[in-house]
Symmetry: C2
Subunit: 360 residues, 2 copies
């Protein structure tokens, strides 16, 4: 059976001041009326029911996840006692789901991506599940690049392995880290590179075997968790902090043999910054975007290229300024040059230095 494993552990600082430790991006309505996690769950509707939908999150955020996903069984919310990166997160989910459903196939999904239309996404999951039905095959979702992005990793495709539900799939020749601009332009021109969207499909046994082969220590820890009975929570609490902290791409996918890339047909963004949200938002005739999930207005005079965001109703007036981001929350406001919005981490760092916990 096809299960969804939604990774919702990120404590993104890149959407400060809206995102906070207890309210990271995935729990917020950044791109629509609902929290991004809720939209991720909704996107599965008709393909993967709640009882086969799992959310892996951090203890600090578990309450938020439960509120946002009231339809999920309580046991389907898996708590990481601490962040140990994606290999451990995915391994934990695979180990626990496999106990309930030994033949489980897992669609591994970040909780905070923008994907549309949902129908095309579900078709891609079906295609991915079909490819992953072969023992040991690990499927990655590669997004055809539309511009020379330097903010994404890339997947270089090799030989075709055929079409599935109308979508092309390929062997993977290599994974590439986030490139510089020249490299990114080469990748785009080459035509054989796709953005690594961090979305994967594989059988629980395939990924656990791959972990066994390439990260045996991790597999050992997961086995202890898998063997835990009633004391599962305590065992996870004990073992999880000791696991290796490595991204699944680096720890497993770059080393594994039977890795495939599926060419996705939908629009995708990881919405990794306020700048990216501007890029994804509807603009008015002056190229200004007001994003107000709960109401509000942007009044722009002699200004273009503005993104205004508030999660609560608010009037944001911008006068004589181009290419700025204005973000309102009840206790903090961010005003940034749009291209500098990825540096918001510097603000967060200075709050940490001053120990202003209430703003983190």
């Amino acid at each position: 059976m096809l299960h969804a494993v939604i990774m919702a552990g990120g404590s993104g600082t890149r959407f400060w001041p809206v995102s906070r430790k207890r309210q990271p991006k995935q729990l917020l309505p950044i791109t629509g009326a609902k929290a991004m996690l809720a939209e991720t769950v909704d996107r599965l509707d008709g393909l993967i029911p709640p009882e086969r939908t799992w959310v892996v999150t951090h203890a600090l955020q578990a309450d938020g996840v439960r509120k946002i996903c009231p339809g999920l069984p309580a046991d389907n919310i898996l708590i990481e006692p601490c962040a140990r990166n994606t290999a451990a997160c995915i391994g934990l989910a695979a180990a626990l789901i496999q106990k309930k459903d030994p033949s489980a196939t897992l669609a591994v999904l970040p909780a905070d991506h923008l994907i549309a239309p949902a129908r095309d996404f579900r078709t891609s999951l079906e295609a991915g599940a079909e490819i992953a039905s072969e023992e040991g095959v690990l499927v990655t979702f590669g997004v055809p690049p539309t511009y020379p992005a330097t903010g994404y990793g890339y997947i270089q495709r090799g030989e075709s392995v055929g079409a599935f539900h109308g979508l092309q799939a390929f062997e993977v020749r290599s994974f590439k880290e986030k490139p510089n601009e020249t490299k990114a332009e080469e990748f785009l021109a080459d035509g054989n590179y796709a953005w690594n969207s961090g979305i994967f499909v594989w059988r629980a046994d395939s990924i656990l075997n791959a972990i066994e082969m390439h990260m045996p220590q991790l597999r050992k820890g997961l086995q202890t968790i898998q063997d835990a009975g009633d004391s599962l929570a305590e065992v996870v609490e004990d073992i999880y902090p000791t696991l290796e902290s490595v991204p699944v791409d680096i720890g497993i996918l770059e080393r594994a043999d039977k890795v495939r890339v599926l060419e996705t047909p939908y629009h995708w963004s990881d919405v990794g910054s306020w700048k990216a949200l501007f890029d994804e938002s509807k603009k008015d005739e002056n190229n200004n975007a007001g994003v107000f999930p709960d109401g509000g207005q942007l009044l722009a005079e002699k200004s273009t290229g503005v993104l205004a965001y508030s999660g609560t109703p608010q009037t944001i007036a911008v006068l004589g300024l181009d290419d700025v981001v204005v973000v309102h929350t009840k206790d903090a406001i961010l005003v940034a040059r749009r291209d500098a919005s990825e540096d918001v981490k510097k603000i967060v760092d200075s709050l940490k230095e001053n120990d202003q916990q209430e703003l983190l």
Copy 2:
């Protein structure tokens, strides 16, 4: 006796979103911990007591004035049923004060100017009162210009009339409207021009006689008000809207004979815009100014020349932007290029067009 007539009727839109119809600039703590009107009253301490301090304001703002000036006798708050500019406002106060104190001398003070130190201001009022003790003399306060300001009117001085309390006084040769930059530089270089600060001292009988001579219709209306008995409020309500609406400079001072200008010794600004507030505020080592009368902080990264203002505790973070103004209120935020902050009226106009009364 010397009385103070504080003109607090302005419904400034230039400090939107902080200033609103019911909360204009003079009722707000723009330059210090107290409302500008309260600081104007405090500045008189030791020279003019509350029983001789009068505030002229608009009905909409009367409650605000009473809250801010709890020490003033209720009768000393004079209500304009509508705005009729400074000649009528000053005339109303003169007419009513003269009834109580026929030999009254009036110091006419805008409620929303920044003046320091207060001691030097009081010395100037004493000097002004001495000059104005001569029948018919109208004294204006001229501030020696420190830069070629285009936002102020100018007073050209004539012959010296001597020194009073150590301050020089002159006859007035002419009044000049707000100049363009070239003119302003000429005025500065010339040395005989002072900024018209809109602060005046005269005997009640002198100004009423001057009104009689130069605006006889206004004097007639004021006489009706002066003659009203118990029905004063109704008479004002009836008459005031019919009065000519003209600034006292244009209606009286430019035409009168015995006008003097006193050279003031203190620092003065009319704080007419957010830009002016920046100019008047304390900057940090990066030339950024955070103004938070009730607490708050500005976090500026890679930014200079920023003014951040909030009347309620708030964190304002600015990233990668120079020379901007960020103003926070509970329901509206303004972000403006600092030099464009005088155009905030355009935002207010668009709110009026959309009939967004709650933001006006």
